[in-house]
Amino acid sequence: MSKKISIDPITRLEGHGKIEIFLDDDGGVENAYLQVPELKGFEQFSIDRPVEEMPRITPRICGVCPMAHHMASTKAADAVYNVKPTETAEKIRRLVYNAYILEDHLLHFFFLGGPDFVVTPSAPPGERNILGVVAKVGKEIGLEVIKTRRQIREIVTHLFGRIIHPVGGLPGGVSKPLTEEKRQEFLQKCKDAVGFAMEAINIFNKIVLDNDEYVKLVTGDIYKHNTYYMGLVDDKNRVNFYDGKVRVVDPEGNEITKFSGLDYLDVVSEHVEPWSYMKFPYLKDIGWKGFTDGKESGVMRVAPLARLNVSDSMPTDKAQQEFERMYDVLGKKPAHNTLAFHWARLIEALYAAEKMVELLEDETITSDDIRNIPTDTPEEGVGIVEAARGTLIHHYQTDKKGIITAANLLVATVFNSAAMSLSIEKAAKKLITKGKLDDGLLNMVEMAFRAYDPCLACATHSLPGNTPLIINIHQNKDIIKTIRRD
């Protein structure tokens, strides 16, 4: 008979990701569920707010990636008023946006999800924190990460007022120009950041690629899913975080569609399950076929690896070299290896740093021409960006005064919700047999989930990477083991 081990009453789950694993009679895994137990209701209380205030309200969906919501919201407000930002404003937006991607990716790799690699996959969770990583990579590199993040975050604070919940985006522009003096100062900092992003890749290569165990883990079958991928690309099908068209490719890498704006409604639908507050988006044409992967299933993936998978190349030189190296090792594009999200994240960080240098080398970025005042009657608009964690869509409808009458938000982590469930189930099935459970194995199950850098803040309120999590193991209607990381 199975014994019931419960570390905490399962009623206490607020703000936690929750994984329920059901074992069959032989102790194999029958099924696994990822549940998100919280909802905030932003769509509803956006109603009656003036559309230009939305970029100041929606960042509170997530304090980890507030810039993503701020920018999606600003672009949606552009669209509502049918106004384009001035050239300079667009450059400034791209600058702060790439700054956000860079510092967020560094945060994840060094402090949050990356510790699975930086420390080791089986390290006790207690070591997976900022201090643990500093202990592992050495205080010098630790300080270098902290310094680089601080300097990059200061660029955002200077231009957009605040790093946590920025305020600089307005329909048709930005609120503050960049001075020549600051341009030069930031340029130097971004050049340093390129160097540091290269260093981060070297650390990854040294720790992961030089270690056969890790390479096996990354390329092996436990962490692999054949799915569709989705991400923004520019007009040359290269990665772009700020703007472009959303490209979707099938599991073989063939483009199946490219869309922008309101057309998102023709491409994606959301499925609702009664057991989670998080919805499950899927490709409308393929349809919701349940929690399964492959070409027949509408399940898609977004975020770093997905973005690289939908792109033909990277827009900058150094990032392009790393892009080629990654696909050489993984052997195939699209790459379906979930753990390669970590790798793709670093390549993107390098691209973001290079892109910032490029933007700052352009002296015209200091022009004062930063606003186009809207003149059209506001109506409806969609803003799409790539958040660090994937495609993010804000869709607003307004009355003739630009007061919101309806809002729809499709957030990055939610796009990955079905895939995350799949990844957890597969890893659980592969790793847990004959009821054999230990914390190390369960940590490896959790890694399947952490690779996505799931920002449940967007659905709940937890920092990615160290998402508070409960894993319940059920057998014969009993919970036989509960693991929680609060």
Partner: protein, 337 residues
């Protein structure tokens, strides 16, 4: 001597307050050496049971961020109160309800409709399936906590010793607070650990802030190009500076003002203010007049307010959960139940 035990906990929040602590950057390592962090959900492993097993007042300082939205959060706030010598309400959501408090304008059904129902254009859910507290799946039963739509501040639930305001609190204020408390200093209970001056009094633009200004109407930020040096109110833009506590930057213009955007009041009210929205309305009424009308009557105030779009969502942007307005909504609900 043993290092002081410090804990961080979050309720209904966005994670920004945690980031605000990580934003101590290099100072975080220095602070971490002086204290013993006993729990910090986002960054390290701990179990609720460990907290429950602690004796009364075992933790020296606990920081709680986020609003209170569920019974579990309420319980946790009570537990932490019992175990902590000093309880600090950290950030706007904890202090005054914050942006999540705007949900208090709505009820559960309308929130479910806009998330899962036909008013959400991307959802394919003809049977209007909504999350349930209990669901039978083939393998067993799955449970979810109930969704509550009333948001409370921390001090509506437990006694709070100090407040650190802001959405999110400026890292230098957090550092000052920690250093003050580590040095054994104990400000008066209930103190907000931030400057008492109003944002206007520290603003670089204050010289251009008018005693009285005549306008036809109030402008929206999207409609006008803003002068980067003139007081925003003088430009006809609603700025919450007159009644908002300063401190979001160290001794200067507000963070948003520096980016040439108006203040929305995330640092909460200055001490003399009881109700943020009501005070802001009278502050504006005392400054702004209508062109051609010399004396302000209630009727005049109303006329000006009519030109403000979304006054409730602007004046109570961060404080709805703790406002008189909220209490009115509560009374209304009571009367109608």
């Amino acid at each position: 001597m043993a290092k002081p035990k410090v804990g961080f906990y979050w309720c209904a929040s966005c994670g920004g307050c945690e980031e605000a602590i990580v934003d101590l950057h290099e100072d975080l390592l220095v602070v971490a050496e002086k204290i013993d962090i006993v729990f910090w959900p986002c960054a390290m492993d701990f179990k609720y049971q460990d907290v429950r097993d602690m004796s009364e007042n075992e933790i020296d300082i606990t920081f709680i961020n986020g609003a209170i939205r569920t019974e579990e959060q309420e319980e946790m706030a009570n537990l932490l109160r019992e175990k902590s010598k000093i309880l600090i309400s950290f950030g706007a959501c904890s202090q005054i309800g914050g942006i999540p408090g705007l949900a208090n304008f709505h009820d559960r059904d309308s929130i479910f409709q806009s998330s899962y129902g036909s008013t959400c254009p991307s959802v394919d859910n003809p049977d209007f399936i909504v999350p349930q507290t209990k669901t039978d799946v083939p393998e067993g039963e799955l449970t979810l906590p109930a969704f509550h739509n009333t948001v409370k501040s921390t001090d509506q639930v437990v006694e709070v010793d100090y407040y650190l305001p802001g959405c999110s609190p400026a890292p230098y204020l957090t550092l000052n607070a920690i250093n003050t408390l580590l040095a054994g200093k104990r400000p008066e209970k209930g103190t907000v650990l931030a400057p008492v001056k109003a944002l206007c009094d520290t603003c670089d633009r204050k010289d251009s802030k008018p005693d009285k200004i005549m306008l036809k109407d109030i402008k929206r930020v999207s409609e006008v190009e803003l002068d980067p040096e003139e007081c925003l109110l003088a430009q006809g833009i609603i700025c919450m500076g007159p009644i908002t506590r300063s401190g979001c930057t160290q001794g200067g213009e507000g963070r948003c003002i520096k980016a040439n955007m108006p203040c929305r009041g995330c640092y909460g009210p200055i001490p003399e203010v009881q109700d943020v929205g009501a005070s802001m309305i009278s502050a504006i009424a005392s400054i702004i007049g209508i062109e051609g009308e010399e004396n302000m009557s209630d009727e005049h105030v109303e006329k000006i307010m009519d030109t403000v779009v979304d006054p409730a969502g602007t004046f109570y942007r961060f404080s709805l959960a703790t406002s008189y307005l909220r209490r009115k909504l509560n009374d209304y609900a009571k009367d109608n139940n």
